[in-house]
């Protein structure tokens, strides 16, 4: 497949919602180890609200879809994940305004702008044991690809590996940072939800 358009975007969001729902308990368990144990439940509640929203008011284009996803996550997730993922999708909406199709590089650029919003808001640096640690290499992998299907598959694989690789890191942002050394040895839950998001993206673009 060469282009990412509204139908792939809808498939992505729906696959992501299913995957987050199926993995909610796992995400919450990861969060319970180094945070407060609600990441899975919060994300599942948010993605369920998103599914309901786009089913009841089908968006006309990419920008409308991403804006709707962002606004819904913002008002339903709470915690830090709400503004971070909500802001991410709102930025995707702004960046895809007026566009009907994105190639691998175009999609990587749009996602990169979303990552920029997350970094502005959360102020996380690479290596702080956050979702940023999965987002950066995944988007880089997609940007380096010429083919959308291969690029998103590579991005998904990279995000999964990057999420796993957060385990030895010392948390420096969010509630996990209060644990200090005791955060070492546990994977970051946010990096794991990012990995699920990219796996869903690859599935939608296959």
């Amino acid at each position: 497949m060469s282009a990412f358009s509204l139908s792939q975007a809808l498939a992505w969001i729906k696959a992501a919602a299913q995957s987050i729902d199926a993995n909610a308990a796992h995400l919450s368990e990861l969060d319970a180890a180094i945070g407060d144990g609600d990441h899975g439940a919060n994300m599942a509640r948010g993605m369920a609200a998103v599914t309901k929203k786009i089913d009841s008011a089908p968006p006309a284009d990419l920008a409308a879809l991403f804006k709707s996803v962002g606004m819904t996550l913002l008002s339903s997730v709470g915690g830090a994940s709400g503004p971070l993922y909500g802001g991410f999708f709102l930025e995707l909406g702004k960046q895809s305004a007026g566009k009907t199709e994105l190639d691998a590089a175009g999609l990587a650029a749009v996602l990169g702008a979303g990552l920029g919003d997350i970094r502005r808001r959360g102020k996380a640096e690479p290596g702080d044991k956050t979702m940023v640690d999965a987002l950066i290499p995944a988007i880089d992998a997609l940007a380096a690809a010429s083919d959308l299907a291969q690029g998103t598959a590579k991005a998904a694989e990279t995000a999964r590996a990057a999420a796993t690789a957060t385990a030895p890191m010392l948390a420096r942002k969010g509630r996990a940072s209060y644990l200090g050394e005791r955060s070492i040895g546990h994977q970051d839950p946010g990096a794991n939800s990012v990995a699920l998001l990219f796996a869903a993206l690859a599935q939608a673009c296959a």
Partner: protein
């Protein structure tokens, strides 16, 4: 999990319905989105105080809505920050034309959500300032963390700023006073048992019968140090000494001393802790001018305590003594 609930997903809404029924004389509760607001509208020209945070810390914050304290509070899901739309609607509902002061505990999610809500309110032409609480000395390395957590000082902050707002202090004055209170108070907490978030159904961490967790937060997250269980006097010292040396409080100063229960510790034990905490304060040459003992900022059914010391002068003592009439804190009325 043994809890007096009907269903985990209904906990926050049903508790709010109960609050509405119990305090219909003074509170109005909006259910879409969730917020608690004073039934008597904010007086024209009075700054509206709006706070909020995850549920599970009751009576904070909804129980502090009323005369002399908060104008509105936004409850999130259990231990989860509320969302910007709640804070925006609560701010609009509470605004009396003199602006909105947000009281925000320093947690990544709370800060980001309140920031977004402040932007939304400013877009509507409403003046907004925010005061942060970050009084938890258990967070030692604030350079490499999300910063110190807002804990017990939040209760004192809401009482004192509420009294000042009631006396007609403007938004800039309240912001400055809040920043001064923020810089003058410190807290630390501990837990004897963990707590269980309803939708998780199991304790957030494990503690053996002979262990306790020192430097605990208020979200069932583990603390900094796990140590063998100790007697109340030793626990009071373990909490008071880091609190007093951090600011530092100096001999001759006057303080408000607050011994808080985490939700599962009876008042009889809190008074045993207070007894020693006050003795330690006196040993440091401090005058305990006012005190508060009870469970005001809790962590569900967690057993444990926290101590908060706030350096105060006659201005703060006057604000402390001013009348307050809320479901959870009431005097002078």
């Amino acid at each position: 999990m043994k809890k007096l609930i009907n269903a985990p997903e209904d906990v926050v809404r049903e508790a709010l319905e109960g609050m509405q029924a119990a305090h219909a004389d003074r509170l109005r509760i909006c259910f879409d989105p969730f917020y608690v607001v004073r039934k008597d509208a904010t007086a024209k020209g009075k700054v509206a105080l709006v706070s909020g945070g995850g549920s599970g810390h009751e009576p904070m914050h909804g129980g502090f809505v009323g005369y002399g304290m908060l104008d509105a509070a936004c409850p999130g899901h259990v231990f989860t920050s509320p969302t910007p739309d709640q804070m925006y609607e609560a701010g609009k509902a509470a605004n009396g034309g003199a602006g909105v002061l947000q009281i925000v505990k320093n947690y990544t999610g709370d800060v980001m959500n309140f920031d977004m809500a402040a932007d939304m309110l400013r877009d509507e032409g409403i003046a907004v300032e925010s005061v942060l609480t970050d009084d938890d000395v258990a967070v030692e390395d604030s350079l490499y963390t999300a910063g110190r957590r807002g804990v017990g000082l939040t209760v004192l902050m809401e009482k004192l700023l509420g009294a000042a707002a009631e006396k007609g202090m403007d938004l800039a004055g309240l912001k400055a006073l809040g920043d001064r209170i923020r810089a003058s108070g410190r807290s630390m907490g501990m837990a004897l048992t963990p707590c269980t978030v309803p939708h998780l159904g199991k304790p957030s961490f494990e503690l053996a019968e002979n262990e306790m967790e020192v430097g605990i937060g208020i979200h069932g997250e583990p603390g900094r140090h796990r140590v063998p269980i100790a007697k109340a006097d030793e626990v009071a010292a373990m909490l008071m000494e880091p609190v007093l040396s951090d600011l530092p409080f100096k001999a001759g100063e006057s303080i408000i001393l607050f011994v808080n229960g985490m939700g599962g510790t009876p008042l009889i034990e809190l008074y045993i802790v207070y007894r020693k905490a006050a003795e330690i304060a006196a040993k440091h040459g401090l005058t305990v001018s006012r005190s508060l003992v009870g469970s005001y900022i809790t962590s569900l059914e967690m057993a444990g305590t926290s101590v908060t010391a706030l350096r105060c002068d006659d201005t703060l003592l006057g604000l402390w003594d001013a009348p307050v009439n809320t479901p959870a804190l009431r005097w002078g009325v």
